[in-house]
């Protein structure tokens, strides 16, 4: 659930999503759900010549299970906060 929250704080930021089929899409993160499905607006495909089917597509929904990486804007991620939150979550799971 933690990573879901992180993504929620990143809505309206520009991110790059690399899929397992090697398609890389840069766009504005519009929404994310509990499966980490991602909704991107104003998308731009890296190496568009290799992926001609994407030319007329301006916004898209990406299924979470096919995402390999998401590149985040570093200045908008508080890694210290994330580290603390991760430790807290791990500690709370040990207790249970």
């Amino acid at each position: 659930m933690l990573i879901f929250s992180v993504f929620k704080t990143l809505t309206d930021q520009t991110v790059t999503v690399e899929l397992k089929n090697d398609l890389s899409i840069t766009g504005v993160l519009k929404s994310v759900d509990q499966f980490l499905n991602i909704r991107l607006d104003s998308i731009k495909v890296l190496d568009e010549a290799r992926h001609p089917h994407m030319i007329a597509v301006k916004n898209c929904f990406i299924r979470g299970s096919v995402v390999r990486y998401v590149q985040l804007p570093a200045e908008n991620v508080d890694t210290q906060l994330l580290e603390d939150a991760t430790r807290r979550e791990a500690a709370s799971q040990v207790k249970r």
């Binding site: 759900d33 509990q34 499905n37 998308i43 001609p52 007329a56 597509v57 916004n59 990406i62 299924r63």
Partner: protein, 136 residues
């Protein structure tokens, strides 16, 4: 309005219904059709679907009809901008002309991916991907 819809698959897909959408499947197929329904797993119903194949700057399409796509096979669902669609610098040709090229391309890619997976597994210490049929 957007902010009233919670972060759910349903919330993000509701405005795509009845629009012309592109669906990319895990086996690499590209389908274009009108999205009629969906659920939280991204199972999709596409009406008046055509399958498209591409090769360099040409494409071909074949009418396929009504699809119910199981969510796990969906890679991406993209909204087709109808204005931009007309300006795409691609040429349409007959399916029969392009099919052989497309089949070769698919076979080549499969071969390349297998070779890559082999190297990653044997020499680079990666695990095998897609053992349960969920890989690319």
């Amino acid at each position: 309005m957007d902010s009233l819809i919670p972060f759910t698959t349903s919330g993000s897909l509701v405005d795509c219904v009845d629009r012309k959408m592109l669906v990319v499947l895990r086996d690499g197929r590209k389908l274009q059709g009108v999205l009629r329904s969906y659920d939280q797993f991204a199972n999709l119903v596409l009406e008046d679907t055509v399958e498209r194949i591409y090769h360099q700057d040409v494409f071909a399409e074949l009418h396929r009809g009504l699809f119910l796509i199981r969510g796990e096979n969906v890679v991406l669902l993209g909204e087709i901008d109808l204005d931009q669609e007309d300006e795409v610098p691609l040429r349409q040709v007959e399916w029969s002309v392009l099919e052989a090229y497309h089949k070769k391309e698919v076979a080549d890619r499969k071969h390349r991916d297998e070779a890559k997976a082999q190297v990653l597994f044997e020499r680079k210490g990666f695990c095998k991907e897609g053992g349960e049929g969920d890989g690319y």
